[in-house]
């Protein structure tokens, strides 16, 4: 049984079908990439899994439990945590404070939560900025903060929404090695990405969405040679080789 099963999910917004009967599985401990041209429905799918939206049709099963329609905080408690495409740090709080908010889910005493937060910040390389207000971080640092904060909730699976967008190649390499480390620690990663180099090099498998439908699934090399995928990307500047 897969850790996460998306079963026949359909979602409509004001008559427009953002997701049409999409099904996929995410295996425990794998890194699954989700790609597709703009507007394909990737973030919508994440929003549905994480509980921000309810699907019009279909189910989300996580570790055997139907979590369709649960509120985001309930989804997080069950072990799925997401990051946002446009990062949402608590800008007036310190970096440490941001992570503490995440850590408080599993460590109800602030003192413990702080210890856990510091441990994670050391892991992700932000510990030197722990007392700085989050609003003063660079974009790359904010992305790492968002990741650290999500990790603080001790997730079994992370939904990462375009974690590499806006980063330069060196920063992307950094993030990729961080992701590998996180996976090695036992967290499943479900990643949406536009930066092809990033996702193709880090994913075990890739799922491709286009216009709300799943059009391909397989290893990165299989998918990049799939006719339909190439068609879908014609006109986009991304090279998938």
């Amino acid at each position: 049984m897969a850790q996460l099963e998306v079963r026949n999910v359909t979602k409509r917004f004001a008559g427009l079908e953002a997701l049409k009967d999409v099904s996929l599985n995410v295996g425990k401990g794998e890194i699954l990439g989700l790609i597709g041209p703009n507007g394909a429905g990737k973030t919508t799918l994440f929003n549905i899994i994480s509980g921000l939206y309810t699907p019009d049709h279909g189910n989300i099963i996580f570790e055997g439990e139907d979590i369709t329609g649960l509120k985001p905080n309930e989804v997080c408690k069950r072990g799925i945590c997401r990051t946002f495409q446009i990062v949402k740090p608590f800008t007036k709080m310190s970096v440490l404070g941001n992570v503490v908010v995440g850590a408080l889910l599993r460590n109800s005493r602030p003192a413990e939560a702080m210890g856990e937060a510091e441990r994670l910040l050391t892991l992700t390389g932000l510990i030197h900025k722990k007392d700085v207000p989050a609003g003063s971080l660079t974009l790359a640092e904010r992305k790492r903060l968002e990741l650290t904060r999500a990790l603080a909730t001790k997730p079994k699976m992370l939904l990462l929404d375009e974690v590499a967008a806006g980063l330069n190649p060196a920063e992307i390499d950094n993030i990729i090695s961080l992701l590998r480390q996180i996976r090695d620690d036992g967290v499943t990663l479900f990643v949406v990405e536009h930066v092809m180099k990033a996702i193709m090099s880090v994913s075990d498998r890739v799922v491709v969405l286009s216009h709300g439908e799943k059009i391909a699934e397989g290893t990165p090399s299989e998918v990049s040679r799939d006719e339909r995928v190439i068609q879908a990307y014609l006109g986009e500047e991304y090279s998938i080789a």
Binding site: C76, F90, M93
Partner: protein, 335 residues
């Protein structure tokens, strides 16, 4: 100045800063008995009173919402304890909690449906305004509590009696109120450092992010509102037993809600000391205006409140206290 002298000075100013915050407290405790003008003691009481109420109000602001109907909670608290005292002989020291719980219940009734169903921001504010208006109307028509005439506590009949919160000297009321204010400040400081405090700050910054980190935003917002209502309700009893007369049109008026909210808005919403600072600045101004214009024109002080809210919102959105902190930081860096 060489390095050693510089760092010594810095160390000195650090320890100064820690004790700096106790100076106002000491002044507030020691000085008043030496004040001869009864009117000034009255103003001092009002300062502490509105500081307490505004600090209680502020709990809602911490979660990023604005309530413009806190007069409802003030009024419910006042009516509960006064009614129980006048008609059932229950002393206010017990009645105050009845008032608090009644107000808390109202706070829950109003906040739960709103936050659960997405009625936030201006719509929540409007709902609180409407709620206070509805209560005003209800109490005007409730003859059991005096209707439009309200309730009167005849001092000569029931007091002076310490256990009934009826004191001859205004100083006594002042000290009790001061103690309550200080107690509340201390409690909120501790709350800020607790898990609840972290969550509240997170919610205020970004609700969506908070949800995604496992926080039940609705539950926390409702809890804050209910707690805020409870504390405001406690204040209601002091209102009743100090002014000795309560009537619905004045008690539930939006003017009272504004008087409760303004110190926090101006002093700094979502800060511990903002409402206190705001109250100690605005209340004397309001009283001075009342005295100067002879009390015949109600509402003059509100022009000032309104103007200060506008200026504050535009120039110092985070409140006076944050502005002051920045100023202090700049001074200490200067050395």
């Amino acid at each position: 100045m060489n390095e050693i002298q510089n760092s010594n000075l810095h160390r000195l100013s650090n320890s100064y800063r820690r004790y700096l915050k106790y100076i106002p407290v000491i002044i507030l405790v020691i000085v008043p008995p030496f004040v001869t003008e009864a009117y000034i003691v009255h103003v001092l009481f009002l300062c502490a009173f509105f500081a307490f109420l505004s600090e209680a109000f502020n709990l809602v602001s911490y979660t990023g919402q604005l309530s413009l109907g806190h007069a409802a909670f003030l009024g419910l608290g006042a009516y509960a304890s006064t009614y129980l005292f006048l008609f059932h002989g229950i002393p206010p020291l017990a009645g105050i909690f009845a008032g608090g719980f009644l107000a808390a219940a109202a706070g829950f009734i109003i906040s739960y449906p709103c936050f659960r169903f997405g009625l936030r921001g201006p719509f929540f504010a409007l709902t609180t305004i409407a709620f206070a208006e509805v209560l005003s109307y209800v109490f005007v028509n409730l003859d059991a509590v005096g209707g439009a005439y309200g309730l009167l506590i005849t001092f000569s009949k029931y007091g002076p009696s310490a256990k009934d919160l009826l004191f001859e000297s205004k100083l006594a009321y002042y000290y009790i109120m001061l103690a309550m204010m200080l107690g509340l400040i201390y409690s909120i400081e501790r709350l800020e450092k607790s898990r609840f405090g972290f969550y509240v700050n997170a919610i205020r910054e970004d609700e969506d992010a908070a949800w995604s980190l496992g926080i039940n935003v609705t539950r926390i917002q409702v809890t804050s509102a209910t707690l805020s209502a409870f504390l405001t309700g406690l204040g209601g009893t002091f209102y009743a037993f100090y002014f000795l007369y309560i009537e619905p049109l004045g008690l539930f008026a939006i003017d009272r809600s504004v008087e409760i909210a303004a110190p926090a808005i101006i002093g700094g919403q979502a800060t511990v000391l903002g409402p206190i600072l705001g109250a100690f600045i605005l209340t004397p101004i309001a009283e001075f205006l009342r005295a100067y214009f002879g009390g015949g024109l109600i509402g003059i002080h509100l022009i000032v409140y309104g103007a200060v809210i506008i200026v504050g919102a535009m120039l110092l959105p985070e409140g006076l206290i944050v502005g002051l902190e920045r100023l202090l930081k700049r001074f200490s860096k200067g050395s």
